[in-house]
């Protein structure tokens, strides 16, 4: 062994070696940069254009996850729109909501019946049944037209036309199945065409292969197993990367054989399972579009099981999918719904709000958002009509009219998901409307609307608490973007049932209110003005809280809570912050307005930026007739740190929401801000 020879000599350090290193570096760049850098130097242009470099780049980029993309296109015989989208595999694997990009077909007209036959090494083979066959590189946007397949050469077989699928009309006597792939043995891309003859003629099947190197269609020997064995079952012939030609059998498995045309493996793959996995990570907008990809996809995307998977996946990523919905009540005749991602509030300096078109037609002007759950929003208008709306899918449903046994009545609603019965429910509590507030009636009528049965049912009053707990659910005001609501069916069964004890005090003597404590639903009662009991519906913890606030307890209301602090206000304009854990409370300075008679609506939340708890009070002139709602509004903000109310410029609504109200709590009721109930 000559040890001296095993040490490479110095002469390697020349320009060839340098060029080799440049190739190593450039081959790790994305295609866009590479095409651009052809401009840098002549030698770079030569290098980048060389087949060796292209292969090197393919080899290196093929290993990287971020270069793999999925191309999703629709079946041309289903739906009139051409859909072609790409989605990075990396995004599918790691993002809760994957990115989807539009892709333009390289050739042909918008509504063409194109079929994507297969892809390999980033090349896509595309064909139109009569017009064109195209080899297309979506990355470089380059394409190459392939010559017609001259089927006349097989003259004794009368062929009327080409179709994709198994129709038996005149045009589809033959069902050619194309395959496309890379033949490593000959270092060439090949297209395979299987002619599946119409059975009556019993002409058998022919495999015709297109050789890119000499640009010729040629008859190919049948593989030993014979295509006939998969008679009628073969959906698509595809070449897989790594020199394998495979026949995809849509029923269950991929059969693959190598470039020497022999079986080399049989891999089981449940395609629908895979498609479900991929689709469930897509945003709703894409899903709705993809319902026109094929009938199978439509069925899949509309199925309750899929909606269930999609909802649970998207719900896991609150940051991305939680959206805030705001409503502008300022103009008497118009409601402007706007939405913006919660994520944007946290991380962006300027939050971009998107207009949301509310599809509900009638009487929009008094419509209110009353609750949301799993992406569904419950609204009601001043005339007693109520609606369920999914802003993501833009569908809505009008609920049956709520009728009460009284002539005049006031209805308050709660909306939520009933896990046990897998149903969305609305609880409506109607009270006899009596003008003087001192005469509050003990008599209350409770009805429950079930989305499944699409009707209101009377409910025994005593069972109210139980009802609220079990049927209205916890996620009272969680607005999640990709909640999918299709055809009124949403399946999210999770068999959980626990019994809740009724509150210890007498039901008949109290007025019950449904409120929210943090993210939990609570019921609080005003016990004949002597006790304020709060009942938290979280994890079945029942807490009777004795409210220490002395004066005018009977009209006190819980208006919000955040981080364990409860914000209350009474009917005389006094407001309080109360910590039930420490049993301490604080009376806030009196809210004064420039009007003599005015109404105040409050919102309470935590301002993370200034580490301060803040209350937003919106006051407007009190006018008896509801049609005369004044546009004039005064907004004040109370800061716990400074213990004072400050006037705020009204125009700065968005700023208000972002900076001063903080990130949680149901804030600014009347000014129309409806915020995700979760705090932090």
């Amino acid at each position: 062994m000559d040890c001296e020879a095993s040490i490479p000599s110095n002469s390697m350090q020349d320009s060839n070696l340098l060029a080799e290193m440049v190739a190593e570096i450039l081959s790790r760049l994305p295609v866009k940069s590479i095409l651009k850098f052809r401009c840098v130097l002549k030698s770079w242009l030569a290098l980048i254009s060389s087949p060796e470099f292209i292969k090197m780049h393919l080899r290196i980029s093929g290993k990287k996850e971020d270069t793999q993309h999925i191309l999703i296109c629709n079946n041309p015989y289903f739906g009139d729109k051409s859909i072609c989208k790409e989605c990075p595999v990396r995004s599918l694997l790691y993002d809760s909501v994957a990115e989807v990009f539009d892709v333009n077909y390289p050739t042909g007209k918008a509504g063409d019946n194109r079929v994507i036959v297969g892809s390999c090494n980033g090349l896509v083979f595309l064909y139109h049944y009569s017009e064109y066959r195209v080899l297309w590189n979506p990355t470089t946007r380059m394409y190459k037209n392939l010559p017609h397949f001259r089927y006349r050469r097989w003259g004794k077989f009368p062929i009327y036309g080409f179709g994709y699928g198994y129709g038996n009309d005149e045009l589809h006597d033959y069902s050619p199945v194309y395959g496309f792939g890379y033949d490593e043995l000959h270092d060439d891309y090949k297209i395979l065409n299987t002619l599946d003859s119409y059975r009556k003629m019993s002409l058998g099947k022919n495999n015709i292969s297109f050789d890119l190197a000499n640009e010729k269609w040629e008859k190919m020997e049948k593989p030993s197993y014979g295509v006939g064995e998969t008679d009628g079952e073969v959906g698509e012939v595809i070449f897989l990367p790594h020199d394998a030609l495979s026949i995809l059998n849509p029923t269950s498995d991929i059969r693959a054989y190598g470039s020497n045309i022999q079986w080399f493996g049989k891999a089981r793959l449940k395609t629908t399972e895979l498609i479900t996995k991929i689709l469930s990570r897509l945003p709703v907008k894409s899903l709705l579009e993809f319902t026109s990809v094929s009938k199978a996809w439509l069925a899949l995307i509309s199925s309750p099981e899929f909606i269930n998977i999609h909802l649970s996946l998207s719900a896991n990523n609150k940051e991305d999918t939680n959206h805030m919905l705001t409503v502008n009540y300022r103009g008497a005749y118009k409601r402007n719904f706007k939405e913006f991602p919660v994520r944007s509030l946290f991380f962006d300096s300027v939050t971009e709000a998107f207009d949301l078109d509310c599809p509900i037609e009638y009487d929009r002007k008094y419509i209110r958002i009353l609750g949301s759950c799993n992406g569904l929003i419950f609204l009601a208008n001043s005339e007693g009509y109520s609606f369920l709306w999914n802003p993501t899918t833009r569908k809505y449903k009008t609920l049956p009219y709520f009728t009460s046994r009284w002539k005049k009545y006031i209805v308050s609603y709660g909306f939520g998901y009933d896990e046990l019965h897998d149903d969305y429910k609305v609880v409506g509590v109607s009270d006899n409307y009596i003008m003087s507030p001192n005469d509050i009636s003990d008599d209350t009528e409770v009805k429950i609307y079930s989305l499944k049965s699409d009707s209101w049912t009377n409910v025994d009053y005593c069972d109210e608490i139980f009802l609220i707990k079990k049927n209205v659910g916890y996620c009272w005001v969680t607005l999640r973007d990709p909640g999918l609501f299709v055809d009124g069916k949403v399946d999210w069964a999770n068999e959980k049932w626990e019994k809740v004890d009724k509150p210890s005090y007498g039901v008949g003597e109290t007025e019950l209110h449904v409120g929210k404590l943090g993210s939990d639903l609570c019921v609080f009662t005003d016990y004949k003005g002597s006790h304020l009991c709060v009942w938290v519906m979280s994890e079945l913890i029942q807490r009777d809280l004795d409210c220490p606030i002395e004066y005018d307890r009977k009209y006190i209301r819980i208006l919000g809570s955040c981080n364990g602090l409860i914000f209350l206000a009474n009917s005389e304009g006094y407001s309080f912050l109360w910590n039930p854990t420490t049993r301490k409370y604080k009376t806030l300075p009196y809210f004064t307005s420039r009007w003599k008679t005015y109404l105040v609506k409050y919102g309470f939340g935590y301002d993370e930026l200034h580490d301060d708890y803040k209350v937003v009070g919106v006051s407007y002139k009190f006018i008896m007739r509801p049609n005369d709602i004044s546009d004039d509004t005064e907004v004040k903000i109370y800061s716990l740190k400074s213990d004072s109310w400050t006037n705020v410029d009204y125009c700065d609504e968005a700023f208000l929401i972002k900076k001063n109200v903080g990130y949680g709590g149901e804030v600014l009721h009347h000014d129309g801000v409806f915020v995700n109930g979760k705090v932090h």
Partner: protein
Amino acid sequence: MVKLKSNDDKEFEVEEAAVIQSEMIKNMIEDGCATSVIPLPNIDSKTLIKVIEYLNKHINMGKAAETGEEDDLKEFDEQFVNMGWEELFDVIMAANYLNIHELMELCCQSAADRLKNKSVRAVREMLKITNDLTEEEEQEIINDAPWAFEGPEIDDTVN
């Protein structure tokens, strides 16, 4: 221990476990040719120190995955490639010569990342390349794939 000698005649002692990450040296050791000092006529001492630093850190790569030191290693790699173009090229050359696959991959990727999204002008400047294409030739390339020249690009030559 294995002794390595740079082209400016400085000797470095490296653990065998570290040095066998170089396919070249590994083969020499297996062939029994590494009994004395291994001369490396293509590598100066400054570059060799860098390479040895990498080799020492990357001993027992498999072990790192088990003990959860992967993040630590990642951080080291990030710091490691934080060097000038000339130095980086020297290390790439050395990695290629010594046939250290992981180091080659790391440095080439780092170089590629620096070039990514840069303008043609910036690339020429960074790599001290004199343009030898005519304006017409350049325009022809642009016309060939105009989309590649669209969108934001960085004209900054700073790494």
